[in-house]
């Protein structure tokens, strides 16, 4: 089987048998956890880069809001697509592209899990995947909505 790699390895990690995880940063100074990751300094307390450590967060959270984009002029991006704000179980709110055919299938409060979508191939011929979120099935939601 082809090797599959993240299109942006700085942002997420692929897991076997589990949804991909997200890579954020945690400030050892103030305990703040942030996504997307950056290594310039803590936005909350101003601690320098050395104080920030990479933290792996479960690709699971709750849908806060969403919108289907009908018009987009960006290069290489085809509308329509749906963007959602997901509050991760591990704290931060992230914006991500949702997989699914229509806006109608989502509702605020839905349990969401990270998944991947094939993007293309890298220069070594490996398949690259981008991170998406999808609605959790009943089993994955485990009693949550």
């Amino acid at each position: 089987m082809d090797e599959i790699v993240p299109a942006d390895p700085a942002l997420y990690r692929l897991k076997s048998g589990a949804p991909p995880s997200l890579l954020g940063v945690r400030c050892r100074g103030c305990g703040g956890v942030f996504f997307p990751p950056q290594h310039y300094g803590c936005e909350s307390c101003g601690a320098p880069a050395e104080t920030l450590e990479t933290v792996e967060m479960a690709g699971r959270g709750t849908l806060h809001s969403f919108a289907t984009v009908h018009l987009h002029q960006g290069k290489g991006i085809e509308a329509p697509f749906t963007v959602g704000v997901i509050v991760l179980d591990d704290g931060p709110a992230v914006r991500a592209i949702l997989t699914g055919s229509s806006e109608g299938e989502f509702a605020a409060g839905d349990t969401m899990v990270a998944t991947t979508e094939v993007q293309g191939r890298d220069d070594q011929g490996r398949e690259t995947v981008e991170l998406r979120f999808r609605k959790a099935d009943e089993r994955e939601a485990g009693g949550r909505r």
Binding site: T68, L71, V94
Partner: protein, 382 residues
């Protein structure tokens, strides 16, 4: 200890002028800017030689816009500088002009906003910090997400959000300087091409070209230049803040606006109840509801009802976006914040014609910009 505008010497708006906001055309930015500047000088009844410093709010034209434009009023050698602060560029240029007069480094200052759409380099895209959506979340989608959240939290409908466009286009229809000068029905707004989420085309502001100018002066200058004191409008507060860290999915636009407006109320010694006219950053319909609430003009979750009740109409409790706002007057970026000062000054002078909100004495101008930044001014005519 730092001081506020009211602690310093008084600053008055004495001259206002506009070039109509319009679709991009062959008109040069020089022509746009000079039209607004000359109108403001004419309104103040003073010659260009009386102006001691000039700030140009512009984000899209490119480096060094001021002198190639203003030299055609006579190259008097005064200090000039461009001010870029995203959508709040014009508001910040106005603030710089006010601070110079308040501090005493100038007696008469020009704030000019001018822009034409063009390719622009956005610094936030060059930080090296990447996210999961790449370029897929542009401003209209940022606000479509907030619209969805607003409906989820408050049980508001898409129609209630769209009502903002009906009100502001009605006001814009009576503003000869507005880019959109046509009243629209709720059905027309809802039937428009969908852009993102609940937002249709008429719920997104047009970004065109234009110019706006405001001249501010000290009491000394008003006396010395025999400016009509009765038409001078006092600047009672000038406040600007930037986004802090807000936990979870809290709405930073509303939080930042709430903080900035609260400081402006304190500095001007007023409360939301005192406001007669408000020009706010209604680049998208949902924003007007969020900011009405953040400004305390209505309770949390009551923005949609306030619009429906007519309380935000001209002639209502507080006229909001009487100019037509960004939705109808337009949002040419650099001019927008200065254009708000122009509208509020007109209203407080009682010179707004068919758009006049009766008895207007206190007004507030509010812009937010990418960053995020927020700039608020309070004007009053006592």
């Amino acid at each position: 200890m730092s001081q506020t505008l009211l602690d310093l010497r008084p600053v008055y708006v004495v001259g206002i002028g506009l070039h109509r906001y319009q679709r991009p055309s062959e008109t040069t930015y020089v022509e746009l800017g000079l039209t607004a500047a000359r109108a403001a000088l004419g309104d103040a009844g003073i010659p260009w030689s009386a102006v001691e410093t000039a700030y140009t709010g512009t984000a899209l034209i490119g480096m060094a816009a001021s002198r190639p434009m203003l030299r055609h009023l006579g190259a008097t050698g005064i200090p000039m500088a461009q001010v870029e602060n995203a959508s709040a560029s014009g508001s910040t240029a106005f603030r710089m002009a006010c601070l110079e007069v308040a501090s005493g480094t100038a007696d008469v200052a020009l704030a000019l906003g001018v822009d034409k759409p063009g390719p622009v380099a956005m610094a936030p895209g060059k930080t090296g910090v990447r996210d999961l959506v790449g370029g897929r979340v542009v401003p209209f989608t940022h606000f479509a997400l907030l619209a969805n959240d607003y409906m989820n939290r408050n049980g508001a409908t898409a129609e209630q959000i769209a009502m903002v466009a009906v009100k502001n286009n009605r006001n814009g229809a009576n503003n000869p300087y507005a880019q959109r000068q046509k009243a629209v029905t709720l059905e027309e707004v809802m039937a428009g091409p969908p852009i993102s989420g609940a937002l249709t085309r008429l719920q997104c502001c047009p970004v065109g070209e234009g110019a706006a100018a405001a001249i501010v002066a000290s009491k000394d200058a008003i006396d010395r230049l025999a400016i009509d004191r009765g038409r001078a409008v006092r600047v009672a507060a000038s406040v600007t803040r930037t986004e802090r860290v807000y936990r979870g999915a809290r709405n930073f636009d509303a939080e930042l606006t709430g903080e900035t407006v609260a400081q402006a109320y304190r500095e001007a010694g007023i409360s939301a109840r005192d406001l007669d006219v408000v020009e706010l950053h209604d680049a998208f319909t949902i924003e007007e509801l969020l900011y009405l609430e953040a400004m305390g003009l209505c309770g949390p979750g009551e923005g949609a009802r306030m619009i429906e009740s007519g309380a935000a109409d001209i002639g209502g409790e507080c006229a909001v976006s009487a100019s037509g706002g960004l939705l109808a007057m337009g949002h040419p970026i650099g001019p927008t914040g200065v254009g708000q000062i122009v509208e509020i000054t007109r209203q407080l002078r009682g010179e707004a014609g068919v758009r006049q909100h009766r008895g207007a004495r206190v007004g507030l101008a509010h812009m937010v910009g990418v960053g995020a930044v927020c700039v608020v001014h309070v004007l009053r005519n006592d």
